[in-house]
């Protein structure tokens, strides 16, 4: 059977400047910069684009003068990439543009960032926000498997050190960190210290997909979609995020497991074939549960697994190599999700400025997290499927 994404190539990626604050921008203006940068990376122009997907899809059609043009504004991050790929695979479009960005969103610093605060009637009165929601999941793993705060802190130190080494990261040269440094930072929502949590920043990014026959004339090395899928257990931040929500064999704590299995099946590969894992890292614990959910280690062994260097540079499965949302950038609700995919593409092109995994041919990228009851998984390859 022909692979469903055989004719879909990722031909352009771009990150704008990422910073704690970009005073010259709002979310759309920096997203446009990301989109145009990705087109430039591909050697394409707005005139080549016949579909826009994701954040600001409709606004981009107007701002770049693309009409008449397909627009799909309702998915973000990996689901947007999969929607873009489907547009090409089903002959609805030839070149699909995605831009994302966040700026000028987080102004009241006495509260946590606006996108972290759910307003649903059953959670708002208890002061829940993302760190607390995700802590409720992490606590169950600690209770069930004996996972320790040192193991969580080791994840945070590893990812933050990747950002420390990355000249494009907002927190470039802000380390290096040890697990003890993470544990010494102030407590936010037990067991998460400040440095176990993602940061907030501003920035944009973009990504361009094209039909495979366009790669003869595009400027960059194409990267291919090997498989992808999404899991959800319901709306985020409306009900208690209980680890055991869902069927016993597939609890919500392992959200993304079904999606990963499906993605691996589409790709015809398994976890042992993955060279680098660009895992979404809203909180340190999320890496531990994802390593288990996707089959990089057995259930309950994610804590010990991260202690001996396997997820760091030179390890068997390096994770979140640009510094992720903890250190590279976290600009709101969309850009940082697409940035997992962009980093995966950079790894497979061999173009990373830091923490390049030598000879990487397969990357697993993820979005979402257990506390939000959804996870999206995307497998990328350097070879056409």
């Amino acid at each position: 059977m022909t692979h469903p994404f055989r004719d879909v190539a990722i031909v352009g990626v771009h990150n704008t400047e990422q910073a704690r604050h970009l005073p010259e921008h709002d979310s759309h203006s920096i997203a446009l910069e990301g989109a145009l940068g990705a087109l430039g990376d591909a050697g394409l122009t707005p005139a080549d684009v016949d579909a826009v997907v994701g954040q600001f899809a409709q606004e981009d059609v107007l701002a770049l003068g693309l009409g008449p043009c397909t627009r799909r504004p309702n998915s973000l991050g990996i689901p947007a990439v999969l929607e873009a790929a489907a547009l090409i695979a089903t002959d609805q479009a030839d070149v699909v543009l995605m831009g994302a960005g966040g700026a000028a969103l987080y102004t009241d610093r006495t509260a946590t960032a606006p996108w972290t605060r759910p307003a649903n009637e059953f959670v708002v009165g208890y002061g829940l926000f993302t760190a607390a929601e995700f802590a409720l999941m992490a606590r169950r793993h600690m209770v069930t498997f004996g996972t320790t705060t040192e193991q969580l802190a080791t994840v945070a130190a590893t990812i933050r050190n990747n950002g420390h080494a990355n000249p494009e990261a907002v927190y470039h040269r802000r380390g290096p960190f040890t697990a003890a440094d993470i544990l010494a930072s102030r407590m936010v929502a037990d067991p998460f210290h400040l440095l176990d949590c993602s940061m907030t920043s501003e920035g944009g990014c973009g990504l361009v997909l094209a039909r495979a026959d366009r790669t003869a004339s595009t400027a960059s090395t194409p990267v291919w979609i090997l498989g992808g899928a999404s899991d959800s257990y319901g709306p985020a931040y409306q009900i208690a995020p209980a680890w055991d929500l869902g069927p016993p064999e597939q609890p919500a704590g392992y959200v993304g497991r079904r999606a990963a299995r499906r993605a691996f099946r589409t790709a015809g590969i398994g976890p042992a074939d993955v060279d680098v894992a660009e895992l979404y890292d809203p909180f340190s614990f999320e890496i531990i549960r994802q390593l288990e959910a996707y089959g990089f280690c057995a259930d309950g062994e994610g804590g010990p697994f991260v202690l001996d260097g396997k997820i760091g540079p030179g390890g068997s499965i390096p994770v979140t190599t640009d510094g992720g949302t903890m250190s590279f950038s976290h600009a709101g609700i969309s850009a940082q999700q697409l940035q997992r995919v962009i980093r995966g593409v950079e790894q497979l092109r061999g173009s990373c400025l830091s923490m390049q995994v030598p000879g990487a041919e397969v990357a697993l990228c993820s979005n979402g997290g257990s506390g939000a009851l959804f996870t999206d998984v995307l497998l990328l390859g350097s070879g056409r499927p």
């Binding site: 946590t112 972290t116 307003a119 009165g125 407590m187």
Partner: protein
């Protein structure tokens, strides 16, 4: 540093289309939930259809208020400055067999333990909204 209920002034719940009986119950010191008359399932949030058998036969019942602590966190950086810290969002597994989002009060943060017996208590946080909290069960 005993965990306390929050005071008026926090961002208060804005009840949805189907939850009025739940919030009415809280004002009367009752924890209410919807059970399906046909299959017996308890709905995860107020609605019209049973989430298990997808039929329209939900009836409000009163929970006893007892349960065990399933998971919790202790928050030191409040999501909004109107919240007093520390506070302890918690998931409680009720004796009736379903889990609710709440917060622990009436004990020290380091007394919280998975599986500890808890019971509901109620505190108003606005003129119209009373929130259920949980405290360690009195023996």
């Amino acid at each position: 540093m005993t965990l306390l209920p929050q005071s008026e002034g926090i961002p208060a719940p804005n009840p949805g289309r189907w939850s009025a009986p739940y919030w009415d119950g809280c004002r009367h010191g009752e924890l209410r939930f919807q059970r399906c008359d046909l299959c017996g399932a308890i709905n995860p949030k107020p609605g019209v259809l049973c989430h298990r058998c997808h039929r329209r036969a939900l009836t409000w019942e009163r929970a006893g208020g007892g349960g065990i602590l399933y998971s919790w966190t202790v928050v030191w950086r409040p999501q909004h400055p109107s919240f007093g810290v520390p506070y302890a969002p918690a998931i409680v597994e009720l004796d009736e067999g379903f889990r609710v989002m709440s917060a622990m009060v009436g004990c020290e943060p380091d007394e919280l333990e998975a599986g500890m017996a808890v019971e509901a208590e109620f505190h108003p946080v606005s003129p119209t909204i009373t929130l259920p909290y949980f405290r360690p069960r009195q023996r």
